[in-house]
Symmetry: C2
Subunit: 203 residues, 2 copies
């Protein structure tokens, strides 16, 4: 019974884990299939039995990320008062950004479409659409009940998404310091910005 049997047994999962760890250390663009294979204790060619290429490996990481992300967002939405769509939107936006701040690695991979094959995945577009629909439903309900100001709902939806996405990206892109936000203030400042924006949606 050698320390390392010829067959790894769970190489696919091990590769995804090693890749996540690698990204955490050196960033998504400096990830190397060979190094991840090294950490999984296999030869450089082995990963290609499980992934058609580097992009497929990164896409697998993104799928994991998306699953956790979706769980976080839907949980936050479920915990929000069901009778207040604006509170629901705030919860969703807050969850998105909070998740990005806590898992910048996963967020980066998920949002950088040059690293992954988003549309080549069955899971990623579907999950994305689910989240989108949740947001759209809240807006529709809020407008119907006169709680959210009128106007083209598509404009409100895209605006909200861009707002929250921009905040998250500015953070993971390391741009906040240049805009006068010290790292330890980031979470509080971002929360304030979201609060300000979402409250502005009320009718």
């Amino acid at each position: 019974m050698p320390a390392r049997p010829y067959h790894h047994g769970r190489l696919r999962e091990a590769m995804v884990e090693a890749t996540v760890a690698l990204i955490e250390e050196v960033g998504p663009e400096r990830v190397t299939v060979r190094e991840a294979a090294r950490r999984a204790g296999v030869s450089p060619g082995a990963p290609f039995r499980h992934f058609s290429g580097k992009t497929a490996l990164m896409t697998a990481v993104a799928e994991e990320a998306m699953a956790r992300f979706k769980a976080e967002v839907t949980a936050a939405l479920a915990a929000a008062p069901a009778e207040d769509p604006v509170a629901g939107l705030k919860a969703m936006g807050g969850a998105l950004v909070r998740w990005a701040l806590k898992n910048p690695t996963h967020f980066k991979v998920l949002s950088d479409r040059t690293l992954i094959d988003f549309d080549g995945s069955a899971f990623l577009p579907a999950a994305n659409r689910e989240i989108q629909d949740l947001q759209a439903a809240l807006i529709a309900e809020g407008q119907a009940r006169g709680l959210i100001r009128q106007g083209d709902p598509r404009v409100l939806q895209l605006g909200g998404r861009a707002f929250v996405y921009g905040l998250a990206r500015m953070y993971v892109d390391g741009q906040l310091p240049q805009w006068g936000v010290a790292p330890d203030q980031a979470e509080a400042r971002i929360a304030a910005v979201i609060e300000d924006y979402v409250e502005g949606l009320r009718a």
Copy 2:
């Protein structure tokens, strides 16, 4: 007088031009120093006389991009009615996004801090700060004259920046189609979203 003299004469500029063209064809992440050198008609090692490495080359591209970007934004601001700070903000935001739509290449390079050495450049942070200060001045003036709603100006500034940055990034990241915005609608839809947001700033 040989077709290609031993000395190129303006290799630095030629490399930047070749790199921009290359980015336009294959995207910033697939740029290759060797290919750019090939197009400039020079050996693979030559560029390293002018750039300390690939990052320095990309940073030079980013500096060109920032110069044009700053010109566009300040021009738009100058053309806006000086007595209406809200119109000024709208002009700045619109210029940012319009510029990004028209020059996705340059925008990508400029905003992807893993490709360039932003803080290692003397020009980039300075130019960034100038634009920031223009925005801050408009907000301060608007609040002082009661034209913009009250509240922490830092929150308004970060929010505005994130909003506009998020829109531009969603576009260049190719995410708009997934949010129900067809390419030919993009410009109009984005303009509507900005309009909606900025008008919401009025007191």
